[in-house]
Amino acid sequence: MAVDAGALAAGPPGRRARLRLSGLLWRRPWLKALGLLTPPLGAFVIVYVGALAVLFVSSFWTVNSFTAEIEHTWTLANYRQIFSSGQPYLHIAALTLEIAAAVTFTDAVLAFPLAYFMARLAGRKTRALLFVMALLPLWSSYLVRIYAWQTILSHDGAINWALNGLGLPDQNLAYTNWAMWIVFSYVWLPFMILPVYAALERIPDSYLEASADLGARGFRTFRSVILPLALPGVVAGSIFTFSLTLGDYITPLLVGGPSSQFIGNVVYDFVGINANVPFAAAFATIPMLIMGAYLLIARRLGAFEAL
Protein backbone atom coordinates (compact mmCIF):
# COMPACT_ATOMS: atom_id res chain seq x y z
CA MET A 1 0.00 0.00 0.00
CA ALA A 2 2.77 2.38 1.00
CA VAL A 3 4.70 1.45 -2.12
CA ASP A 4 1.65 2.08 -4.24
CA ALA A 5 1.12 5.49 -2.72
CA GLY A 6 4.76 6.34 -3.32
CA ALA A 7 4.58 5.17 -6.91
CA LEU A 8 1.45 7.20 -7.44
CA ALA A 9 2.97 10.28 -5.87
CA ALA A 10 5.94 9.93 -8.21
CA GLY A 11 3.73 10.01 -11.30
CA PRO A 12 3.31 13.11 -13.47
CA PRO A 13 1.32 15.84 -11.71
CA GLY A 14 -1.55 15.71 -14.21
CA ARG A 15 -2.16 12.06 -13.53
CA ARG A 16 -1.91 12.57 -9.79
CA ALA A 17 -4.58 15.22 -9.91
CA ARG A 18 -6.79 12.98 -12.05
CA LEU A 19 -6.44 10.12 -9.60
CA ARG A 20 -7.27 12.40 -6.70
CA LEU A 21 -10.36 13.51 -8.59
CA SER A 22 -11.38 9.90 -9.31
CA GLY A 23 -10.99 9.09 -5.63
CA LEU A 24 -13.03 12.05 -4.59
CA LEU A 25 -15.80 11.18 -7.04
CA TRP A 26 -15.80 7.57 -5.86
CA ARG A 27 -16.13 8.58 -2.20
CA ARG A 28 -18.87 11.08 -2.97
CA PRO A 29 -21.01 9.53 -5.69
CA TRP A 30 -23.55 12.34 -5.52
CA LEU A 31 -20.84 14.70 -6.73
CA LYS A 32 -20.33 12.55 -9.80
CA ALA A 33 -24.05 12.18 -10.39
CA LEU A 34 -24.40 15.93 -10.09
CA GLY A 35 -21.57 16.54 -12.55
CA LEU A 36 -22.98 14.04 -15.02
CA LEU A 37 -26.56 15.19 -14.74
CA THR A 38 -26.18 18.96 -14.69
CA PRO A 39 -25.38 19.49 -18.39
CA PRO A 40 -28.12 17.26 -19.87
CA LEU A 41 -30.76 18.09 -17.29
CA GLY A 42 -29.91 21.77 -17.14
CA ALA A 43 -30.26 22.11 -20.89
CA PHE A 44 -33.37 19.99 -20.83
CA VAL A 45 -35.14 21.77 -18.01
CA ILE A 46 -34.40 25.23 -19.39
CA VAL A 47 -35.41 24.47 -22.96
CA TYR A 48 -38.07 21.82 -22.78
CA VAL A 49 -39.74 22.08 -19.40
CA GLY A 50 -39.48 25.84 -19.57
CA ALA A 51 -41.15 25.74 -22.96
CA LEU A 52 -43.98 23.53 -21.71
CA ALA A 53 -44.54 25.85 -18.77
CA VAL A 54 -44.66 28.93 -21.00
CA LEU A 55 -47.12 27.13 -23.23
CA PHE A 56 -49.46 26.15 -20.44
CA VAL A 57 -49.43 29.60 -18.88
CA SER A 58 -50.06 31.25 -22.22
CA SER A 59 -53.27 29.25 -22.70
CA PHE A 60 -54.81 31.59 -20.11
CA TRP A 61 -53.77 34.70 -22.02
CA THR A 62 -55.47 36.30 -25.00
CA VAL A 63 -54.47 38.05 -28.17
CA ASN A 64 -55.69 41.57 -28.73
CA SER A 65 -57.59 41.41 -32.00
CA PHE A 66 -56.53 44.95 -33.03
CA THR A 67 -52.85 44.99 -32.19
CA ALA A 68 -52.24 41.20 -32.46
CA GLU A 69 -50.16 41.51 -29.30
CA ILE A 70 -50.48 38.93 -26.54
CA GLU A 71 -52.20 40.39 -23.49
CA HIS A 72 -50.91 38.98 -20.24
CA THR A 73 -54.19 39.02 -18.35
CA TRP A 74 -55.58 35.83 -16.85
CA THR A 75 -58.75 34.64 -18.51
CA LEU A 76 -60.62 31.45 -19.41
CA ALA A 77 -61.83 32.97 -22.68
CA ASN A 78 -59.90 30.48 -24.85
CA TYR A 79 -61.38 27.50 -23.05
CA ARG A 80 -64.86 29.04 -23.18
CA GLN A 81 -64.50 29.49 -26.93
CA ILE A 82 -63.52 25.82 -27.41
CA PHE A 83 -66.53 24.53 -25.49
CA SER A 84 -69.10 26.98 -26.83
CA SER A 85 -71.68 25.23 -29.01
CA GLY A 86 -71.48 27.59 -31.98
CA GLN A 87 -67.84 26.74 -32.64
CA PRO A 88 -66.48 23.79 -34.66
CA TYR A 89 -63.82 22.85 -32.10
CA LEU A 90 -65.67 20.14 -30.18
CA HIS A 91 -66.68 18.55 -33.47
CA ILE A 92 -63.04 18.56 -34.59
CA ALA A 93 -61.92 17.02 -31.30
CA ALA A 94 -64.59 14.32 -31.69
CA LEU A 95 -63.47 13.46 -35.24
CA THR A 96 -59.86 13.23 -34.06
CA LEU A 97 -60.86 10.90 -31.25
CA GLU A 98 -63.03 8.72 -33.48
CA ILE A 99 -60.30 8.23 -36.06
CA ALA A 100 -57.72 7.57 -33.33
CA ALA A 101 -59.98 4.88 -31.84
CA ALA A 102 -60.71 3.31 -35.25
CA VAL A 103 -57.00 3.26 -36.11
CA THR A 104 -56.10 1.67 -32.78
CA PHE A 105 -58.69 -1.07 -33.26
CA THR A 106 -57.64 -1.73 -36.86
CA ASP A 107 -53.98 -1.97 -35.91
CA ALA A 108 -54.73 -4.39 -33.08
CA VAL A 109 -56.64 -6.65 -35.50
CA LEU A 110 -53.92 -6.48 -38.16
CA ALA A 111 -51.01 -6.88 -35.74
CA PHE A 112 -52.33 -9.87 -33.83
CA PRO A 113 -51.98 -12.64 -36.45
CA LEU A 114 -48.52 -11.50 -37.52
CA ALA A 115 -47.33 -11.12 -33.92
CA TYR A 116 -48.76 -14.55 -33.06
CA PHE A 117 -47.13 -16.15 -36.07
CA MET A 118 -43.77 -14.53 -35.21
CA ALA A 119 -43.93 -15.44 -31.52
CA ARG A 120 -45.23 -18.98 -31.63
CA LEU A 121 -45.11 -20.56 -35.07
CA ALA A 122 -42.17 -19.18 -37.03
CA GLY A 123 -38.72 -20.74 -36.90
CA ARG A 124 -35.80 -18.69 -35.66
CA LYS A 125 -34.72 -17.46 -39.10
CA THR A 126 -38.23 -16.58 -40.26
CA ARG A 127 -38.85 -14.80 -36.99
CA ALA A 128 -35.72 -12.66 -37.33
CA LEU A 129 -36.67 -11.82 -40.90
CA LEU A 130 -40.24 -10.89 -39.97
CA PHE A 131 -38.93 -8.81 -37.10
CA VAL A 132 -36.80 -6.72 -39.44
CA MET A 133 -39.64 -6.56 -41.98
CA ALA A 134 -41.94 -5.13 -39.30
CA LEU A 135 -39.33 -2.77 -37.86
CA LEU A 136 -37.87 -1.19 -41.01
CA PRO A 137 -41.05 0.48 -42.32
CA LEU A 138 -41.32 2.17 -38.96
CA TRP A 139 -38.01 3.88 -39.52
CA SER A 140 -38.34 4.70 -43.18
CA SER A 141 -39.55 8.24 -43.63
CA TYR A 142 -42.99 8.91 -42.20
CA LEU A 143 -43.64 11.61 -44.78
CA VAL A 144 -42.68 9.37 -47.67
CA ARG A 145 -45.00 6.64 -46.44
CA ILE A 146 -47.91 9.08 -46.39
CA TYR A 147 -46.91 10.27 -49.85
CA ALA A 148 -46.86 6.67 -51.08
CA TRP A 149 -50.50 6.29 -50.04
CA GLN A 150 -51.41 9.62 -51.58
CA THR A 151 -50.21 8.16 -54.87
CA ILE A 152 -51.81 4.76 -54.35
CA LEU A 153 -55.22 6.22 -53.43
CA SER A 154 -55.26 8.87 -56.14
CA HIS A 155 -57.75 8.66 -59.00
CA ASP A 156 -55.38 6.90 -61.42
CA GLY A 157 -53.42 5.17 -58.67
CA ALA A 158 -52.75 1.53 -57.87
CA ILE A 159 -55.99 0.90 -55.92
CA ASN A 160 -58.28 1.87 -58.77
CA TRP A 161 -56.06 0.01 -61.22
CA ALA A 162 -56.41 -3.13 -59.10
CA LEU A 163 -60.18 -2.64 -58.72
CA ASN A 164 -60.60 -2.18 -62.46
CA GLY A 165 -58.53 -5.29 -63.02
CA LEU A 166 -61.03 -7.20 -60.90
CA GLY A 167 -63.87 -5.68 -62.89
CA LEU A 168 -64.95 -3.34 -60.08
CA PRO A 169 -65.70 0.37 -60.45
CA ASP A 170 -63.38 3.21 -59.32
CA GLN A 171 -63.47 4.29 -55.70
CA ASN A 172 -62.73 7.88 -54.81
CA LEU A 173 -60.87 7.25 -51.59
CA ALA A 174 -58.39 10.09 -51.85
CA TYR A 175 -59.04 13.14 -49.65
CA THR A 176 -61.66 11.47 -47.44
CA ASN A 177 -61.81 10.32 -43.83
CA TRP A 178 -61.44 6.76 -45.16
CA ALA A 179 -58.07 7.72 -46.62
CA MET A 180 -56.99 9.10 -43.23
CA TRP A 181 -58.09 5.89 -41.53
CA ILE A 182 -56.11 3.73 -43.98
CA VAL A 183 -52.98 5.89 -43.88
CA PHE A 184 -52.91 6.23 -40.09
CA SER A 185 -53.44 2.48 -39.68
CA TYR A 186 -50.59 1.86 -42.09
CA VAL A 187 -48.16 4.35 -40.60
CA TRP A 188 -48.55 3.27 -36.97
CA LEU A 189 -49.00 -0.50 -37.49
CA PRO A 190 -45.41 -1.47 -36.53
CA PHE A 191 -45.92 0.23 -33.15
CA MET A 192 -48.64 -2.32 -32.43
CA ILE A 193 -46.85 -5.38 -33.81
CA LEU A 194 -43.77 -5.09 -31.57
CA PRO A 195 -45.39 -4.96 -28.10
CA VAL A 196 -48.03 -7.57 -29.00
CA TYR A 197 -45.24 -9.84 -30.20
CA ALA A 198 -43.34 -9.26 -26.96
CA ALA A 199 -46.41 -10.12 -24.87
CA LEU A 200 -47.24 -13.27 -26.85
CA GLU A 201 -43.67 -14.46 -26.75
CA ARG A 202 -43.71 -14.45 -22.96
CA ILE A 203 -46.65 -16.89 -22.67
CA PRO A 204 -45.18 -20.25 -21.60
CA ASP A 205 -46.15 -23.22 -23.77
CA SER A 206 -47.20 -25.07 -20.64
CA TYR A 207 -50.16 -22.71 -20.19
CA LEU A 208 -51.54 -23.72 -23.56
CA GLU A 209 -50.91 -27.39 -22.84
CA ALA A 210 -52.67 -27.07 -19.50
CA SER A 211 -55.61 -25.43 -21.22
CA ALA A 212 -55.78 -28.24 -23.76
CA ASP A 213 -55.45 -30.89 -21.01
CA LEU A 214 -58.40 -29.33 -19.24
CA GLY A 215 -60.42 -29.89 -22.37
CA ALA A 216 -60.44 -26.41 -23.91
CA ARG A 217 -60.64 -26.30 -27.68
CA GLY A 218 -58.64 -23.84 -29.75
CA PHE A 219 -61.07 -20.94 -29.52
CA ARG A 220 -61.62 -21.36 -25.79
CA THR A 221 -57.86 -21.36 -25.17
CA PHE A 222 -57.55 -18.26 -27.30
CA ARG A 223 -60.29 -16.43 -25.45
CA SER A 224 -59.47 -17.48 -21.90
CA VAL A 225 -55.67 -17.83 -21.94
CA ILE A 226 -53.99 -16.11 -24.87
CA LEU A 227 -56.11 -12.99 -25.12
CA PRO A 228 -55.94 -11.97 -21.43
CA LEU A 229 -52.16 -12.50 -21.42
CA ALA A 230 -51.71 -10.57 -24.67
CA LEU A 231 -53.89 -7.67 -23.56
CA PRO A 232 -51.12 -5.66 -21.84
CA GLY A 233 -49.16 -5.79 -25.11
CA VAL A 234 -52.18 -4.60 -27.10
CA VAL A 235 -52.74 -1.77 -24.63
CA ALA A 236 -49.05 -0.83 -24.78
CA GLY A 237 -49.25 -0.67 -28.57
CA SER A 238 -52.47 1.31 -28.40
CA ILE A 239 -50.69 4.03 -26.41
CA PHE A 240 -48.61 4.73 -29.51
CA THR A 241 -51.30 4.34 -32.15
CA PHE A 242 -53.74 6.45 -30.15
CA SER A 243 -51.41 9.22 -29.02
CA LEU A 244 -49.65 9.55 -32.36
CA THR A 245 -52.95 9.83 -34.24
CA LEU A 246 -54.22 12.35 -31.71
CA GLY A 247 -51.22 14.64 -32.19
CA ASP A 248 -50.82 14.38 -35.95
CA TYR A 249 -51.59 17.05 -38.51
CA ILE A 250 -49.57 15.98 -41.54
CA THR A 251 -51.79 13.08 -42.59
CA PRO A 252 -55.03 15.14 -42.52
CA LEU A 253 -53.17 17.82 -44.45
CA LEU A 254 -51.97 15.48 -47.20
CA VAL A 255 -54.67 12.83 -47.58
CA GLY A 256 -57.67 14.28 -45.70
CA GLY A 257 -60.51 16.19 -47.30
CA PRO A 258 -61.74 19.71 -46.65
CA SER A 259 -63.78 18.55 -43.63
CA SER A 260 -61.01 16.35 -42.23
CA GLN A 261 -59.56 18.88 -39.79
CA PHE A 262 -57.79 17.40 -36.78
CA ILE A 263 -56.93 19.02 -33.45
CA GLY A 264 -53.38 19.25 -34.78
CA ASN A 265 -54.42 21.20 -37.89
CA VAL A 266 -56.31 23.77 -35.84
CA VAL A 267 -53.37 24.11 -33.48
CA TYR A 268 -50.95 24.48 -36.37
CA ASP A 269 -53.08 27.12 -38.07
CA PHE A 270 -53.50 29.09 -34.87
CA VAL A 271 -49.76 29.12 -34.23
CA GLY A 272 -48.93 30.01 -37.85
CA ILE A 273 -51.55 31.79 -39.94
CA ASN A 274 -53.75 33.16 -37.15
CA ALA A 275 -50.84 34.00 -34.83
CA ASN A 276 -52.93 33.16 -31.78
CA VAL A 277 -50.66 30.98 -29.66
CA PRO A 278 -52.82 31.28 -26.51
CA PHE A 279 -55.81 29.69 -28.24
CA ALA A 280 -53.62 27.00 -29.82
CA ALA A 281 -52.18 26.23 -26.40
CA ALA A 282 -55.65 25.95 -24.87
CA PHE A 283 -56.84 23.60 -27.62
CA ALA A 284 -53.69 21.48 -27.31
CA THR A 285 -54.45 20.80 -23.65
CA ILE A 286 -57.38 18.60 -24.81
CA PRO A 287 -55.18 15.84 -26.33
CA MET A 288 -52.84 16.24 -23.35
CA LEU A 289 -55.66 15.57 -20.89
CA ILE A 290 -57.01 12.67 -22.97
CA MET A 291 -53.54 11.11 -23.14
CA GLY A 292 -53.06 11.62 -19.40
CA ALA A 293 -56.28 9.75 -18.67
CA TYR A 294 -55.37 7.08 -21.23
CA LEU A 295 -51.96 6.51 -19.67
CA LEU A 296 -53.51 6.11 -16.22
CA ILE A 297 -55.92 3.45 -17.53
CA ALA A 298 -53.11 1.77 -19.47
CA ARG A 299 -51.02 1.56 -16.34
CA ARG A 300 -53.84 -0.19 -14.48
CA LEU A 301 -54.09 -2.73 -17.31
CA GLY A 302 -50.39 -3.54 -16.91
CA ALA A 303 -49.31 -1.99 -20.19
CA PHE A 304 -46.14 -0.43 -18.75
CA GLU A 305 -44.73 -3.81 -17.76
CA ALA A 306 -45.37 -4.96 -21.33
CA LEU A 307 -43.21 -2.24 -22.85
Binding site: L37, M118, S141
Partner: protein, 281 residues
Protein backbone atom coordinates in the same frame (compact mmCIF):
# COMPACT_ATOMS: atom_id res chain seq x y z
CA UNK B 1 -51.19 -27.14 -30.30
CA UNK B 2 -52.57 -25.08 -33.12
CA UNK B 3 -54.47 -27.05 -35.71
CA UNK B 4 -53.24 -27.21 -39.28
CA UNK B 5 -55.99 -24.88 -40.46
CA UNK B 6 -55.10 -22.31 -37.80
CA UNK B 7 -51.45 -22.45 -38.78
CA UNK B 8 -52.16 -21.96 -42.47
CA UNK B 9 -54.62 -19.13 -41.78
CA UNK B 10 -52.11 -17.37 -39.56
CA UNK B 11 -49.32 -17.78 -42.11
CA UNK B 12 -51.53 -16.35 -44.87
CA UNK B 13 -52.64 -13.40 -42.67
CA UNK B 14 -49.03 -12.70 -41.69
CA UNK B 15 -47.94 -12.67 -45.32
CA UNK B 16 -50.75 -10.25 -46.18
CA UNK B 17 -49.79 -7.91 -43.33
CA UNK B 18 -46.13 -7.93 -44.40
CA UNK B 19 -47.21 -7.18 -47.99
CA UNK B 20 -49.39 -4.35 -46.69
CA UNK B 21 -46.33 -2.93 -44.92
CA UNK B 22 -43.99 -3.19 -47.88
CA UNK B 23 -45.96 -2.67 -51.09
CA UNK B 24 -46.33 1.11 -50.60
CA UNK B 25 -42.58 1.46 -50.00
CA UNK B 26 -41.75 -0.57 -53.11
CA UNK B 27 -44.25 1.38 -55.21
CA UNK B 28 -42.92 4.77 -54.16
CA UNK B 29 -39.37 3.61 -54.88
CA UNK B 30 -40.48 2.57 -58.39
CA UNK B 31 -41.99 6.02 -59.07
CA UNK B 32 -38.48 7.50 -58.90
CA UNK B 33 -37.87 5.76 -62.26
CA UNK B 34 -41.18 6.87 -63.79
CA UNK B 35 -40.72 8.14 -67.36
CA UNK B 36 -43.93 10.17 -67.26
CA UNK B 37 -44.29 13.26 -65.12
CA UNK B 38 -47.85 12.19 -64.24
CA UNK B 39 -48.17 9.98 -61.16
CA UNK B 40 -50.33 7.21 -62.62
CA UNK B 41 -50.27 3.46 -62.15
CA UNK B 42 -49.11 1.30 -63.87
CA UNK B 43 -45.84 2.98 -64.84
CA UNK B 44 -45.48 2.71 -68.61
CA UNK B 45 -42.01 4.07 -69.32
CA UNK B 46 -38.82 4.03 -67.29
CA UNK B 47 -36.04 6.58 -67.03
CA UNK B 48 -33.11 7.74 -64.89
CA UNK B 49 -33.67 11.29 -66.11
CA UNK B 50 -35.22 12.55 -62.83
CA UNK B 51 -32.16 11.53 -60.84
CA UNK B 52 -30.12 14.00 -62.90
CA UNK B 53 -32.78 16.69 -62.53
CA UNK B 54 -33.02 16.16 -58.78
CA UNK B 55 -29.24 16.23 -58.42
CA UNK B 56 -29.13 19.63 -60.15
CA UNK B 57 -32.12 21.05 -58.26
CA UNK B 58 -30.67 23.82 -56.05
CA UNK B 59 -33.53 23.69 -53.49
CA UNK B 60 -33.25 19.92 -53.08
CA UNK B 61 -29.49 20.21 -52.73
CA UNK B 62 -29.52 22.91 -50.09
CA UNK B 63 -32.29 21.09 -48.21
CA UNK B 64 -30.25 17.87 -48.23
CA UNK B 65 -27.15 19.69 -47.04
CA UNK B 66 -29.06 21.44 -44.25
CA UNK B 67 -30.65 18.17 -43.10
CA UNK B 68 -27.31 16.39 -43.03
CA UNK B 69 -25.64 19.18 -41.05
CA UNK B 70 -28.49 19.33 -38.54
CA UNK B 71 -28.59 15.56 -38.15
CA UNK B 72 -24.84 15.39 -37.53
CA UNK B 73 -24.83 18.15 -34.91
CA UNK B 74 -27.93 16.71 -33.22
CA UNK B 75 -26.36 13.24 -33.14
CA UNK B 76 -23.27 14.67 -31.42
CA UNK B 77 -25.30 16.54 -28.81
CA UNK B 78 -27.61 13.57 -28.23
CA UNK B 79 -24.73 11.15 -27.71
CA UNK B 80 -22.82 13.32 -25.23
CA UNK B 81 -25.82 14.42 -23.16
CA UNK B 82 -27.67 11.09 -23.45
CA UNK B 83 -24.66 9.05 -22.35
CA UNK B 84 -24.01 11.37 -19.40
CA UNK B 85 -27.60 11.19 -18.20
CA UNK B 86 -27.71 7.41 -18.72
CA UNK B 87 -24.53 6.89 -16.68
CA UNK B 88 -25.92 8.95 -13.82
CA UNK B 89 -29.35 7.31 -13.82
CA UNK B 90 -28.05 3.74 -14.18
CA UNK B 91 -25.17 4.04 -11.70
CA UNK B 92 -26.41 6.13 -8.84
CA UNK B 93 -29.43 6.12 -6.62
CA UNK B 94 -30.36 9.64 -5.72
CA UNK B 95 -33.31 11.73 -4.78
CA UNK B 96 -35.56 12.33 -7.77
CA UNK B 97 -34.01 9.59 -9.92
CA UNK B 98 -37.36 8.36 -11.18
CA UNK B 99 -38.41 11.92 -11.90
CA UNK B 100 -35.29 12.39 -14.02
CA UNK B 101 -35.91 9.30 -16.11
CA UNK B 102 -39.57 10.28 -16.53
CA UNK B 103 -38.60 13.80 -17.54
CA UNK B 104 -36.18 12.58 -20.18
CA UNK B 105 -38.80 10.36 -21.81
CA UNK B 106 -41.38 13.16 -21.91
CA UNK B 107 -40.53 14.44 -25.42
CA UNK B 108 -41.39 11.07 -26.95
CA UNK B 109 -44.46 10.44 -24.78
CA UNK B 110 -46.06 13.76 -25.70
CA UNK B 111 -47.39 14.31 -29.21
CA UNK B 112 -44.86 16.04 -31.46
CA UNK B 113 -47.18 18.95 -31.99
CA UNK B 114 -47.02 19.81 -28.28
CA UNK B 115 -43.22 19.70 -28.27
CA UNK B 116 -43.12 21.81 -31.42
CA UNK B 117 -45.58 24.38 -30.19
CA UNK B 118 -43.95 24.59 -26.75
CA UNK B 119 -40.53 25.22 -28.29
CA UNK B 120 -42.01 27.73 -30.72
CA UNK B 121 -43.60 29.81 -27.97
CA UNK B 122 -40.43 29.48 -25.92
CA UNK B 123 -38.32 30.93 -28.73
CA UNK B 124 -40.83 33.73 -29.27
CA UNK B 125 -40.98 34.38 -25.51
CA UNK B 126 -37.19 34.42 -25.13
CA UNK B 127 -36.76 36.53 -28.26
CA UNK B 128 -34.59 33.93 -30.03
CA UNK B 129 -34.92 34.23 -33.83
CA UNK B 130 -35.55 30.91 -35.61
CA UNK B 131 -32.52 29.56 -37.43
CA UNK B 132 -30.73 26.30 -38.08
CA UNK B 133 -29.86 26.29 -34.39
CA UNK B 134 -33.44 26.38 -33.20
CA UNK B 135 -34.09 23.30 -35.34
CA UNK B 136 -31.04 21.68 -33.73
CA UNK B 137 -32.42 22.45 -30.26
CA UNK B 138 -35.84 21.06 -31.23
CA UNK B 139 -34.41 17.81 -32.58
CA UNK B 140 -32.04 17.42 -29.65
CA UNK B 141 -34.87 17.27 -27.12
CA UNK B 142 -36.07 13.93 -28.43
CA UNK B 143 -32.81 12.60 -29.90
CA UNK B 144 -31.17 12.77 -26.47
CA UNK B 145 -33.84 10.29 -25.34
CA UNK B 146 -32.93 7.68 -27.91
CA UNK B 147 -29.24 7.81 -27.05
CA UNK B 148 -30.19 7.72 -23.38
CA UNK B 149 -32.49 4.71 -23.87
CA UNK B 150 -29.86 2.70 -25.71
CA UNK B 151 -27.06 3.41 -23.25
CA UNK B 152 -29.17 2.97 -20.13
CA UNK B 153 -30.42 -0.43 -21.36
CA UNK B 154 -26.81 -1.54 -21.90
CA UNK B 155 -25.60 -0.22 -18.53
CA UNK B 156 -28.35 -2.08 -16.68
CA UNK B 157 -26.94 -5.31 -18.09
CA UNK B 158 -23.34 -4.45 -17.18
CA UNK B 159 -21.88 -5.36 -13.82
CA UNK B 160 -20.78 -2.34 -11.73
CA UNK B 161 -17.93 -4.43 -10.34
CA UNK B 162 -16.08 -3.91 -13.65
CA UNK B 163 -15.62 -0.26 -12.76
CA UNK B 164 -14.66 -1.01 -9.17
CA UNK B 165 -12.06 -3.50 -10.39
CA UNK B 166 -10.63 -0.93 -12.77
CA UNK B 167 -10.30 1.62 -10.00
CA UNK B 168 -8.79 -0.93 -7.62
CA UNK B 169 -6.13 -1.53 -10.24
CA UNK B 170 -5.25 2.15 -10.16
CA UNK B 171 -6.98 3.51 -13.23
CA UNK B 172 -8.17 7.10 -13.11
CA UNK B 173 -11.63 8.18 -14.27
CA UNK B 174 -10.62 8.73 -17.89
CA UNK B 175 -8.76 5.41 -18.12
CA UNK B 176 -11.72 3.57 -16.61
CA UNK B 177 -13.99 5.17 -19.18
CA UNK B 178 -11.61 4.58 -22.09
CA UNK B 179 -10.56 0.99 -21.39
CA UNK B 180 -13.43 -0.50 -19.37
CA UNK B 181 -16.68 1.37 -19.88
CA UNK B 182 -16.28 2.40 -23.52
CA UNK B 183 -15.69 -1.14 -24.92
CA UNK B 184 -18.89 -2.23 -23.16
CA UNK B 185 -20.90 0.80 -24.25
CA UNK B 186 -19.49 1.47 -27.71
CA UNK B 187 -22.00 -0.55 -29.73
CA UNK B 188 -24.95 0.87 -27.79
CA UNK B 189 -23.60 4.37 -28.35
CA UNK B 190 -23.04 3.75 -32.06
CA UNK B 191 -26.52 2.27 -32.45
CA UNK B 192 -28.03 5.19 -30.52
CA UNK B 193 -26.15 7.59 -32.75
CA UNK B 194 -27.39 5.96 -35.94
CA UNK B 195 -30.97 5.99 -34.71
CA UNK B 196 -30.69 9.61 -33.60
CA UNK B 197 -29.34 10.52 -37.02
CA UNK B 198 -32.19 8.74 -38.81
CA UNK B 199 -34.71 10.35 -36.51
CA UNK B 200 -33.45 13.89 -36.95
CA UNK B 201 -33.04 13.43 -40.68
CA UNK B 202 -36.70 12.45 -41.02
CA UNK B 203 -38.41 14.77 -38.53
CA UNK B 204 -41.25 16.99 -39.79
CA UNK B 205 -43.65 18.11 -37.08
CA UNK B 206 -41.27 19.69 -34.57
CA UNK B 207 -39.26 21.13 -37.48
CA UNK B 208 -42.25 22.99 -38.93
CA UNK B 209 -42.56 24.84 -35.62
CA UNK B 210 -38.86 25.61 -35.12
CA UNK B 211 -37.77 26.46 -38.68
CA UNK B 212 -38.24 29.81 -40.31
CA UNK B 213 -37.45 30.05 -43.99
CA UNK B 214 -35.03 27.11 -43.75
CA UNK B 215 -35.99 24.01 -45.68
CA UNK B 216 -34.82 20.69 -44.35
CA UNK B 217 -35.31 17.76 -46.68
CA UNK B 218 -38.63 16.64 -45.12
CA UNK B 219 -39.88 20.25 -45.21
CA UNK B 220 -38.85 20.42 -48.89
CA UNK B 221 -40.92 17.28 -49.55
CA UNK B 222 -43.88 18.56 -47.51
CA UNK B 223 -43.94 21.96 -49.23
CA UNK B 224 -43.84 20.39 -52.68
CA UNK B 225 -46.51 17.81 -51.79
CA UNK B 226 -48.84 20.48 -50.46
CA UNK B 227 -48.53 22.47 -53.65
CA UNK B 228 -48.51 19.33 -55.82
CA UNK B 229 -45.50 20.55 -57.76
CA UNK B 230 -42.09 19.12 -58.62
CA UNK B 231 -43.37 15.59 -57.96
CA UNK B 232 -40.80 13.77 -60.13
CA UNK B 233 -38.01 15.42 -58.12
CA UNK B 234 -39.85 14.60 -54.88
CA UNK B 235 -40.01 10.95 -56.01
CA UNK B 236 -36.24 10.80 -56.34
CA UNK B 237 -35.75 12.59 -53.02
CA UNK B 238 -38.20 10.16 -51.38
CA UNK B 239 -36.20 7.26 -52.78
CA UNK B 240 -33.04 8.62 -51.14
CA UNK B 241 -34.72 9.54 -47.88
CA UNK B 242 -36.01 5.98 -47.48
CA UNK B 243 -32.57 4.61 -48.29
CA UNK B 244 -30.83 7.05 -45.93
CA UNK B 245 -33.11 6.24 -43.00
CA UNK B 246 -33.37 2.49 -43.57
CA UNK B 247 -29.62 1.93 -43.93
CA UNK B 248 -28.61 3.47 -40.55
CA UNK B 249 -31.35 1.51 -38.80
CA UNK B 250 -30.39 -1.75 -40.45
CA UNK B 251 -26.78 -1.02 -39.44
CA UNK B 252 -27.84 -0.23 -35.88
CA UNK B 253 -29.70 -3.56 -35.69
CA UNK B 254 -26.59 -5.34 -36.92
CA UNK B 255 -24.26 -3.57 -34.52
CA UNK B 256 -26.50 -4.42 -31.59
CA UNK B 257 -26.83 -8.04 -32.61
CA UNK B 258 -23.18 -8.75 -33.31
CA UNK B 259 -22.05 -7.86 -29.80
CA UNK B 260 -23.92 -10.74 -28.27
CA UNK B 261 -24.76 -8.46 -25.36
CA UNK B 262 -28.32 -8.33 -26.53
CA UNK B 263 -29.91 -11.61 -25.68
CA UNK B 264 -32.42 -13.02 -28.13
CA UNK B 265 -36.07 -12.82 -27.34
CA UNK B 266 -37.38 -10.57 -24.63
CA UNK B 267 -34.30 -8.38 -24.26
CA UNK B 268 -34.09 -7.73 -27.97
CA UNK B 269 -37.72 -6.80 -28.14
CA UNK B 270 -37.45 -4.50 -25.14
CA UNK B 271 -34.61 -2.68 -26.81
CA UNK B 272 -36.44 -2.59 -30.12
CA UNK B 273 -39.59 -1.29 -28.51
CA UNK B 274 -37.60 1.31 -26.63
CA UNK B 275 -36.01 2.30 -29.87
CA UNK B 276 -39.33 2.15 -31.65
CA UNK B 277 -40.93 4.66 -29.34
CA UNK B 278 -39.06 7.48 -30.86
CA UNK B 279 -39.47 7.91 -34.57
CA UNK B 280 -42.92 9.35 -34.69
CA UNK B 281 -42.16 12.31 -32.50
Amino acid sequence: METRTTRITLAVCSTLVVLFLWIPLVLIALYAFNGSSIQGWPITSWTLHWFRVAWRDPDARSALWLSVRIALIVTGIALVLGTMAATAVARFRFFGRDAVSFLLVLPIALPGIITGMALNSFFVFAGIPVSMWTIVIGHSTFCVVIAYNNVVARLRRTSPSLIEASQDLGADGWQTFRFVLWPVLSTAVVAGGLLAFALSFDEVIVTTFTAGAQQTLPIFILDNLRQGQNLPVVNVVAFFVVALTVIPVALAQRVMRDTGVVRRGAAQVTEAVEAAEIPAV
